[in-house]
């Protein structure tokens, strides 16, 4: 702590001195006074052109900022909600389907980037209820209001492919999401009607994989090969 208290002003003073020397020396170089004037006017004109260009470019740019989600919404515990039969927000649901299978159900070629939850339901039926939950992506934690940008909607997924005996999870498309967000320095937006939505202190991300929740009647026999590799965490299947 003490070190900061001493080093910071020293660095500051060094910086100050450098700039002071430069300013002093600038006078010594043979620059006529109207050169400075021309420089300032030219700079202002350039900046003004910049402002106009930025305005035009902004108006042509139709990107909307991603919606914001409060922090607790981003950390929705899907698994426990299913376990406890709690309500699950509809926004998380990508698809609800039912499939008819002939007695035996297999998931070969396992777990391509999805998390599979299987619940055995009592009773005789050959209908499997499938609910696919979207993968979730939240980023850019905003300290000021405790929210994340919700990028879930930007993710593209391939739904599982079914036939009468099995379900196969196709390879998921690559999702490269890139966002550049510009906001004026917070120092300046003190009186803005739309206070800055991010403080620039972007940190943290919440990433949830695609979850497939299957309700399989007990009459259907499961054929699931166990994985040997413990470290393949994106291949995961769980029987509730």
């Amino acid at each position: 702590m003490m070190i900061f208290a001493i080093v910071t002003p020293i660095l500051l003073v060094l910086g100050l001195l450098t700039i002071m020397m430069t300013v002093k020396n600038m006078g010594r170089i043979q620059i006529k006074k109207n050169v400075h004037r021309k420089l300032i006017i030219g700079y202002l004109i350039l900046l003004f052109i910049g402002v106009i260009t930025a305005e035009i470019m902004t108006s042509m740019n139709d990107q909307e900022p991603p919606p914001k989600m409060p922090e607790n919404a981003a950390q929705f515990d899907l698994r426990s909600a299913i376990e406890q039969d709690a309500a699950i927000p509809e926004r998380l649901v990508a698809a609800r389907r039912t499939h008819e299978v002939d007695g035996i159900f297999a998931i070969p070629d396992l777990y391509n980037g999805a998390y599979i939850l299987i619940e055995r339901t009592p009773g005789e039926s050959n209908i499997i209820e499938e609910t696919v939950f979207k993968p979730e992506l939240y980023a850019g934690f905003d300290v000021s209001d405790g929210s994340y940008f919700d990028l879930t909607g930007k993710l593209q997924i391939e739904l599982p492919v079914w036939d009468s005996r099995s379900m196969r999870i196709p390879k998921q498309p690559v999702n490269k999401i890139r966002y550049s967000i510009y906001h004026d320095s917070n120092m300046l937006t003190q009186f803005g009607s739309s206070p800055s939505t991010s403080t620039g202190m972007v940190s943290g991300t919440v990433l949830g994989g695609m979850t497939i929740y299957l309700r399989i009647p007990e009459s259907i026999e499961l054929d699931i090969s166990e994985t040997e590799d413990e470290f393949e965490y994106d291949q995961y299947i769980e029987l509730l």
Binding site: G15, M26, V174, S180, G200
Partner: protein
């Protein structure tokens, strides 16, 4: 008895014009600093975060004109300090002046410099916008000149206010240092003490000083606070300046 009689206002104006001519390099320095902030220190205003791995990955970049704001404020402090130098005083006193017109001219100069600092910094925001937009997938969160002209000018006002305040702070500190070199020691000690203090108080006190201006939601109250602070700093520095002897050995 006197063949020439000037009014205080007239002379302050003339001294101000003289100062504008004499301190051209200070303005050029601002431009250089801002260009450095924009071109070389783009990283200071930009933070990129990469998250996730295949198949989902996210690259998230925040751009702002924080860097320009910071360097402009830094420049303001230095320019304020520089204008108290003995050389500056001697230059002014070569020509017709007294300590009041000298101080007034400095104040006018600060106002001009602050306005320039405010305008350029806010405009540089637009340059950063262009840089952001050029990268694609850009979201512009703050309104621009056409969509919200009032906000644009409010930003200039806020930036100019902060710039002016920092210049006056630098000027006041510099005036004290010019009066007696002992103040360098005193200010250094105060700084260390302040740092220590704010560490122990977990930054509460440093915050409150900034919050006094920064957390002010009303434009008019903010303007009033800035005005009062500027007047106080002006008064304090003038109280010292008024005693300063020129070309003193």
């Amino acid at each position: 008895m006197f063949s020439t009689q000037w009014s205080v206002h007239e002379l302050a104006k003339r001294q101000f014009l003289f100062k504008l001519n004499a301190n051209g390099p200070a303005f050029s320095m601002l431009i250089v600093l801002q260009i450095i902030a924009t071109v070389f220190l783009g990283g200071a205003s930009t933070s990129t975060s990469d998250y996730g791995s295949e198949p989902f990955s996210l690259s998230y970049t925040t751009v702002s004109n924080d860097g320009q704001v910071g360097l402009t404020l830094f420049w303001a402090l230095i320019v304020g300090f520089l204008l108290t130098s003995a050389a500056q005083r001697n230059e002014s006193f070569v020509f017709v002046t007294n300590r009041l017109t000298f101080q007034l001219a400095n104040f006018y100069f600060f106002c001009t410099a602050a306005l320039l600092g405010g305008v350029t910094t806010v405009m540089l925001g637009s340059v950063m916008k262009i840089i952001t937009l050029a990268g694609g997938h850009a979201v512009i969160e703050t309104a621009g000149l056409f969509s919200a002209p009032l906000e644009f000018f409010l930003q200039i006002f806020v930036m100019a206010s902060y710039t002016l305040l920092l210049m006056l702070v630098g000027y006041t500190l510099g005036t004290f240092v010019q009066y007696s070199r002992i103040f360098i020691m005193l200010f250094a000690l105060m700084w260390i003490g302040f740092m220590q203090f704010s560490f122990f108080m977990l930054g509460t006190d440093t915050d409150s000083l900034l919050q006094f201006y920064y957390a002010e939601p009303s434009v008019w109250l903010f303007a009033l606070k800035v005005l009062l602070s500027a007047a106080a700093l002006f008064g304090i520095s003038f109280w010292v300046t008024n005693r300063l002897e020129v070309r003193n050995p």
